[in-house]
């Protein structure tokens, strides 16, 4: 059958992401060019955004480049930042079963928060090819992200205003994600664990060396006290168990 409506619907569904990715990507690109001190920032902006397609990571890269962060730390932090993608895949295993390997690899490679949400929503027109819909969506979103980051890096080297303080964009991004996660009661328990563990590690190890000990402490606490935390998730103030 004619798959044109599928392509059209994929484009319409991707429009909110066009707004989000180009602007957020632009900010990340500006930061890379303005603060990392690398040569050819637009080239690296293109390469990193095309291969990772990950918002928080794109911001963290600038910090890592500035500090020449060791690769083991980079790998561990990437796991922490992006472990949620593993959870997304769990709910797509059945959908993606039996499709050609190349298509499957691209769908996995391009799985971002927003693309996942739209693929789960799956507004494919009746009788349309759902995999074609997913791939078109993924490719459009991928494209928006690359354009945003690369354009930001091109602009960032010659901003018409002083850029002091622009690195607060990364702090703001993490604050926004945390605020949204804490709308859900159960997440607050785990955000509190991360908060306490990392404040303790910041005090003991100092800001520059706190991340890896924080991850280890956090994971140990989450594993050891997993049962009590699960009880706490549904606890309401004033209620006795």
């Amino acid at each position: 059958m004619n798959q044109k409506p599928v392509l059209k619907q994929a484009f319409v569904s991707s429009l909110p992401v066009l707004m989000g990715y180009t602007t957020m990507g632009f900010a990340a690109g500006v930061l890379l060019a303005a603060k990392s001190g690398i040569r050819l920032p637009a080239f690296w902006a293109f390469l990193t955004s095309a291969t990772s397609i990950s918002g928080a990571l794109q911001f963290m890269l600038v910090d890592w480049i500035q500090k020449s962060q060791p690769m083991l730390d980079v790998a561990l932090l990437t796991v922490c930042l992006n472990i949620r993608y593993s959870m997304y895949g769990l709910s797509l295993i059945e959908r993606f079963r039996g499709i050609p390997l190349a298509k499957k690899l691209y769908l996995i490679w391009s799985l971002t928060d927003e693309t996942y949400a739209l693929e789960v929503e799956n507004k494919v027109p009746p009788g349309g090819d759902s995999i074609l819909y997913c791939i078109t969506l993924a490719a459009l979103n991928h494209f928006y992200w690359i354009i945003g980051v690369t354009a930001g890096a091109l602009a960032g080297a010659s901003l018409p205003f002083p850029n002091k303080g622009i690195d607060f964009a990364m702090t703001a991004l993490f604050l926004v994600i945390l605020t949204d996660q804490c709308r859900e009661r159960r997440n607050r328990v785990y955000a509190a664990v991360g908060l306490l563990a990392s404040v303790a590690c910041a005090l003991v190890f100092g800001a520059g060396k706190m991340l890896i000990p924080s991850i280890v402490l956090m994971l140990s606490v989450l594993i050891v006290f997993r049962k009590p935390f699960e009880k706490l998730e549904s606890w309401k103030p004033g209620e006795r168990s």
Partner: protein
């Protein structure tokens, strides 16, 4: 290895892209044949995200405390004010872009004028 060297940047790109792809592919590799994921993996995977983001917020502020806590920076006034703007806007408008751009603009204005 210097962070701005071509060699470092190439390895950085490969490591971040490789690890991120592996994370995305992990469930398909492990459970693609219909096996059930172990309960521990599922529960840690679900709860690590909020903890990790909270840690990153603490990390950002730990760096500010180290660099900008003294009285000459008004004890982090710019950081606190900008963070309040971000969280308040996000709670109110639920638009990440607006919150991030407004918070960053407030911060840039403050550190370039009143709280250098």
């Amino acid at each position: 290895m210097n962070g701005t060297s071509t060699e470092y940047l190439l390895i950085l790109t490969a490591v971040t892209a490789g690890v991120t792809f592996l994370l995305r592919a992990l469930p398909f590799l492990l459970f693609g044949t219909g096996k059930r994921p172990p309960a521990l993996v599922l529960s840690i995977g679900n709860v690590l995200s909020p903890a990790a983001i909270a840690m990153l917020v603490v990390y950002c502020f730990a760096c500010y405390v180290r660099d900008r806590a003294p009285a000459e920076h008004m004890f982090g006034l710019a950081e606190i004010a900008a963070a309040v703007v971000v969280v308040a806007l996000q709670l109110w408008k639920r638009n990440p872009l607006v919150s991030i751009l407004a918070g960053t603009a407030v911060y840039m204005t403050l550190v370039q004028t009143v709280v250098p």
